[in-house]
Subunit: 337 residues, 4 copies
């Protein structure tokens, strides 16, 4: 049982807003990108990954995004549709923007990723793409912070949150902060704070949590009690749950009623670092909607993250509920450090 | 023997100006891009292809271009360097531009190509990248018309031609007209005419030749005598040779002294349509520099084009001189239609 | 007496954020701009006008703005300084932006105004121009809505309000909605709603109040009880006072404790329509800071507005306190219609 | 008699391409702009000034330009029309561009000029605004170099010259180089050289002539024999006359047949420095069209320049033919220094 203010009688579990794109993963492992001979094609992008995570677990996911009107855009939409995700709010753009594309090495850590995001289609999302009725059908609106990085996607995202507020749709903000997407750190910090104050759940790693400080003067590796003090003002607003991911160190979850939950991780052999956070977020929300208590939701999230990074893509690596529970039955979490 | 005004005592045969990028070719043939599972990585881009064609035949090629400062940019430069091409005028850009990228189906005709050219690195070529001394070392400056499509590459290209004029470097213009690169057809037509008037050789297919008309009122499929009248004014300036490629129909070559040379093509089983023109241009210039007569140069060019399209990339499909001559010994051209 | 949550022990009465520019008023009255032979030079721009209004009444005003680094920019800053306004937060911009310029006919109504606001200096205000310490010294931060219309001024304005919130500086939002400044009505509506929710006082005319509706579906001429219902949600947040100006019809003031105050106007012979709202806002804030009750503040504001439009500029037409009280002693308000 | 290749049987004497705008001159002389109380309104802009000069002398002038669709734009067009200038190729722009505006002190030298040219209407001139038929009706196309400084005006200007070439309209290039209009000096130099090579007459002062050097390494104050060597290549193309203005020092005129004509100036009491060059160019072309010998044309031009700077605007200060001849009868030129 959790007591989050999620409205349950709605047809969409999670409506994910933000990018959906193509990942080209090196076919050869542990090889520099200059030497890679070929790449395998997958769907990717954080909000798309989260939607797939939800769908694999049996949840009803939908996505609000923009892709280019070409073969790669059609591929993304076809794939999401095949996963059972509602794609009616995905627009094909013919203005010259291009579907987000990531070309990556396949290395456990520090693999190079070449991103093609100049005039990215997803950042062409506009206020006209945001429908109040659609948002009103969702239990949760999942917002990827990167969608705030540029206009007109910024305004579309702000509007989606205004709408969510007006129809009691629960807002989950995945900070998803990538400095290269933003004009400046201070601009990122400004918009993140405005949106975080309107969100019911905030999820991020330690680096991302720092962006919520106007002066970005936080120590990167804050201790739990300092973090708690830093995040407290959000709980005076609408925030109900804030989760801080600390990679190998495990995660911290702060709640409106003042609790601080700590958990370790599941240790696995890592193929690539991507996808862990998205598997976590999708699985967490799946549990929250099912009414599971927060600790169980986080534990499931960390298990899904571990499964994901041990496989060789993001979307295709998302576990089903059976796989997830089976994995958790066979493995134990490390201790929180 | 040809009597073109090429200066021979120079260390670079052809200095190619324009894009050098990455081609990702579908690993599966005759498959829609939405269904393709993986892609093979090659270097591509018309001027890069032409430089490779020259180098494979034993010529000394150099390239003026810009790539992004990442793994794909390094790959392009490493590959060109390995082919023996002078890459000292290739700049790594760290402004956020990206190496030109083409993701293509592998089909004989009408395969879909998804281009990533928003803020393309090659179009960031600037006047500061153009060195008079470098141009003065080249027998030929090969200009790809696409380099004129946007600033600052437009001004860099215009300056390279001003420099070439001042040091008697022979200018070959490959029209390479791609409507999507340009703000408008009339803007393309304007700059193409300005540059064509300053070029010693002009190469293009029938559609491209049309762009030289201010009013774009030409019939697409002009007859030779109409073409001759249309092109005549260029011969009153510095033009010495104009070649019009008519695909399966063969090619027409007009000369300053009023000749019109007609040739057929070599018939092969086509894997993909790309690369034919670049193989033609590189092989043609190789012959011109060797002092071969124009008809022989064109015949070799058409043979190289045929070899290229029968293989499964652009750069790697460029024939060596031995392969070229062996192919020509075993095959015959069709008649000009 | 009023019970607004203004912090009184601070050195600046009102810190005005937004444009400060030049007005060139036709020297000949009732003449079309094509026929006007010469123009008189004044300082103008809504926040500058408000600052001057405050200063003339004896208040301590400051201004945050950007002007161009040329004779007109120097003129604006010199003038404001001479009025006793703190100009330390006015930046001279040398990037090519230009001081806001309005060239106007001198007609009682519907005079043509030609605005030069392409790359306007004031809209170059950036987050770096916003100092927390400065805002902490002010009793009131007066924000002109036009400062939200474009980046980077938009982000600077949002940041100034974040800062004001963090140091309990009272925020007065003058809607100042001018459709031509904005990319779209829906974008204006979005940002106006975000900022209005963070403001303690909101001032606007009926048309401007409409921009607070997402769907802009309000009747332009709403009745008081409808207006009250529409504005109610703001009072559930931080709003304490909302004033709706109805031109000749008088004004409505809604308060957090549920009152609706209605007042008429002072009738005068009008020379030009500009400046009324700014005189009103400056005089209102002067009274609020003095602790006068809201009805008196509004009555003084309407008197100052009347005095302003009967004279032939905006800034130079702002009354002193003596002039204001003398005018009110000699004249009576019309009834609210 | 002059032997320039001007086609005489045409209805328009000079078609002037470039800006037409508003000048606001300080009503008080020798006063800093911060202190000026009012400004007088005039039409200005180099090509407009030149057209007015022609018209005042009895010539048939036309203008190709863009103004904003507001009172100032209408004023410019009305005024030019009243001067008898053909204004059918002046477009009213409603895209948000603004009529070029100069606000100036009235000082003999070094008066400050504040220019409002952000998104200037005249630089919105586009290829669609250029009509071959119109150019074919003109004896001379007068091109102001500033029209080359930005797209789309740049392409419109290049096209006008292409058209002029195709219908034997004589091209006069007034260099009118203003560094602030250009992205860089090297970009200016590139386009100026391209256009200068296509011009029959080139007019500029010493600073402007320097822009024709790729390396801008010229000494500012070149001696006549060095200038002659520098300019010689243009005479190998289509240039017939190149005039270098040296302010108080007088002017040098080089001709295709190798002559170098030197003249002094007329000394007058100067009110403001603007307008001299435009009076010179308009009067020179008036003489050239009348078939007067080049020396007489230049002498008349220098007289018109002197008359202009002794009066208090640009356009209104242009002399009639009677005034011009009377002035020349009463005054003598200084010697060339």
């Amino acid at each position: 049982m959790n007591d989050l203010s999620i409205e349950h009688g709605r047809s969409i579990d999670v409506l994910c807003l933000g990018r959906a794109g193509v990942d080209l993963y090196a076919a050869e492992e542990n090889t520099d990108i200059t030497e890679v001979a070929s790449f395998k094609k997958f769907v990717g992008g954080s909000p798309a990954n989260i939607a797939v995570s939800l769908a694999r677990l049996g949840g009803r996911a939908a996505i609000i995004s923009v892709v280019s009107n070409d073969g790669l855009g059609r591929y993304v939409v076809d794939y999401l549709n095949q996963q059972g995700i509602d794609i009616k709010a995905v627009r094909f753009d013919a203005s010259g923007a291009r579907t987000s594309l990531a070309i990556t090495e396949m290395k456990p850590t520090e693999g190079e990723v070449v991103l093609y995001r100049n005039q990215a289609a997803d950042l062409q999302l506009s206020m006209d793409d945001i429908q109040l009725d659609h948002i009103a059908q969702a239990k949760i609106l999942l917002v990827s912070g990167t969608a705030l990085s540029k206009s007109p996607s910024r305004e579309a995202t702000l509007l989606s949150i205004e709408h969510a507020r007006s129809v009691n749709t629960f807002v989950v903000l995945d900070l998803d902060y990538r400095a290269y997407s933003w004009a400046s750190e201070q601009e990122a910090s400004l918009y993140y704070q405005i949106v975080a104050r309107a969100s019911n759940v905030i999820i991020g790693n330690l680096e991302e949590i720092n962006i919520l400080s106007t002066h970005a003067s936080l120590e990167y590796d804050m201790q739990p009690n300092k973090l708690e003090a830093f995040l407290k003002p959000y709980f005076q607003g609408v925030a109900e749950l804030i989760i801080v991911k600390r990679a190998e160190g495990g995660s911290l979850a702060f709640t409106k009623d003042g609790r601080c939950l700590k958990q370790g991780v599941y240790s696995v052999s890592v193929k690539k670092p991507f996808g862990a956070g998205d598997a976590f977020a999708g699985t967490l929300m799946h549990g929250l909607i099912k009414g599971l208590d927060i600790e169980t939701c986080i534990r499931r999230g960390s298990a899904a993250a571990a499964i994901n990074v041990s496989r060789d893509s993001c979307t295709e690596a998302m576990p089903s509920l059976t796989e997830l529970l089976s994995f958790m039955a066979r493995n134990e979490q490390t201790k929180f450090k």
